[in-house]
Symmetry: D2
Subunit: 143 residues, 4 copies
């Protein structure tokens, strides 16, 4: 696998357009879909750092969600344009913390905010150290 020397970008924004199947009969995006969006945000934050999560898994590095917090501010609706900003907040020995901000593109209204903690595990499901290249060089890190 071809991984970069170091991850350097700690914030990235993607556009999300809710699918019809993601709505519920309350006419809004179901709250269980937001964790899926956040996961997409993490994947793309990795990708702008030249890392495909798929390749991490092939290299035996898995990230599993250990904690999730979401504050739902306003409903998201079918087919509207949303922006999801994903930031890497902290990288510790076996854990990565991310923050999320989902906004509506048309008026910048905040739809939701959240954080997650991922644990790094090996193919055996046991905690393992995060690969060196995933630590940001320019941050004081609590490793």
């Amino acid at each position: 696998m071809n991984f970069p020397e170091h991850i350097t970008i700690d914030k990235h924004t993607i556009k999300i357009v809710p699918r019809y199947s993601e709505t519920d009969q309350g006419r809004v995006v179901h709250h269980s879909v937001y964790p899926v969006y956040f996961e997409m945000g993490r994947t793309e934050l990795l990708r702008v750092n030249k890392v495909a999560y798929k390749d991490l898994e092939e290299a035996g590095v898995f990230f599993v969600v250990a904690e999730l917090k979401i504050r739902y501010r306003k409903p998201a609706r079918y087919d509207e344009h949303l922006l999801l900003e994903t930031r890497c907040i902290d990288v510790k020995e076996t854990r990565i913390e991310h923050g999320y901000k989902l906004t509506r593109e048309s008026d910048n209204a905040v739809i939701a905010e959240g954080t997650s903690v991922l644990a790094c595990v090996g193919p055996d499901g046991k905690l393992r150290r995060i690969p060196d290249f995933m630590f940001y060089e320019d941050k004081k890190q609590t490793v």
Copy 2:
């Protein structure tokens, strides 16, 4: 694994109560949820035959959906009681065909009907013969 000598039951009915998250903003169960229900029907048809699909996978026997046909007759709604009848129609060398009938318990209205063809594959994803015990003894089968 402990598998029965032969599968004997070829039809089974389960109750399904649509979840809120399964509805869409049209106020009905989204059409992509029906294949999930059908899969549950197959799992329970196996189980009344004393076979857990989980154990089949552990024994290296996987069933993947090769064909699916659904006719949607009437909308299914949140929290209503549905009955799903799953029948095994045919077992061939590497393929199993099932039929499905989803009805509303309150008035027997037919909500949907469908069929599926599953292919039996090994851990390598290649077609393999269906285990002997999954053929019905009392049917003329085109093996």
Copy 3:
């Protein structure tokens, strides 16, 4: 609609058996499915109190998720038996707080814990007071 005079039961446990479609390629239940389970827990906690959430919506009373926190302890797996305990922790003027504990039936291992805050809104999406009958009589409540 036929609602009870008062809600009286504040804790209820349901059994959940993860569906195949709820797993991901990490061979565990995807973390976005837990909010769906929690919602099922709330629905059934209401039901043992003789309230169908469906009837609440028909009466113009909607509950939307405002906050969600989940701690994932151990992976949940396809077709295993899980127990979800849902407790009502607090009922305030326009908000209900619930706590969740998801355990594995075979060994009581804690799979996940969580809390949620629901806001009560009317058909217009605006905050409204929770119906009187949804306050527990025997609790000191901060209304």
Copy 4:
């Protein structure tokens, strides 16, 4: 609402990248996700015709899936690039038929093919005639 005089484009291709949450423990995209992709294909085919499905619903025109057929040829995998071609095959008084072809971008392998029939209904859920502008001018149509 601002609808075009006539729909003119009858075929459109979109790129789809399977999400992690769409995979199952068989390490492939779960078969119930394909109908979601097909729906996305229809939405975008409409959009290149300057019609937002959202606007149709606001104008009281709903399309519900009446029939669905899918042939699954090869597994789709997490994060690979897929191309979905959606064609409008026929527009009848109250029904639209679409065809779908899902291919893998890297080698043009056919992942799945399918067809669907949508019925046009009003806000009351009853069949209604498809709006005039949704008939293709240049096709002999069986209206």
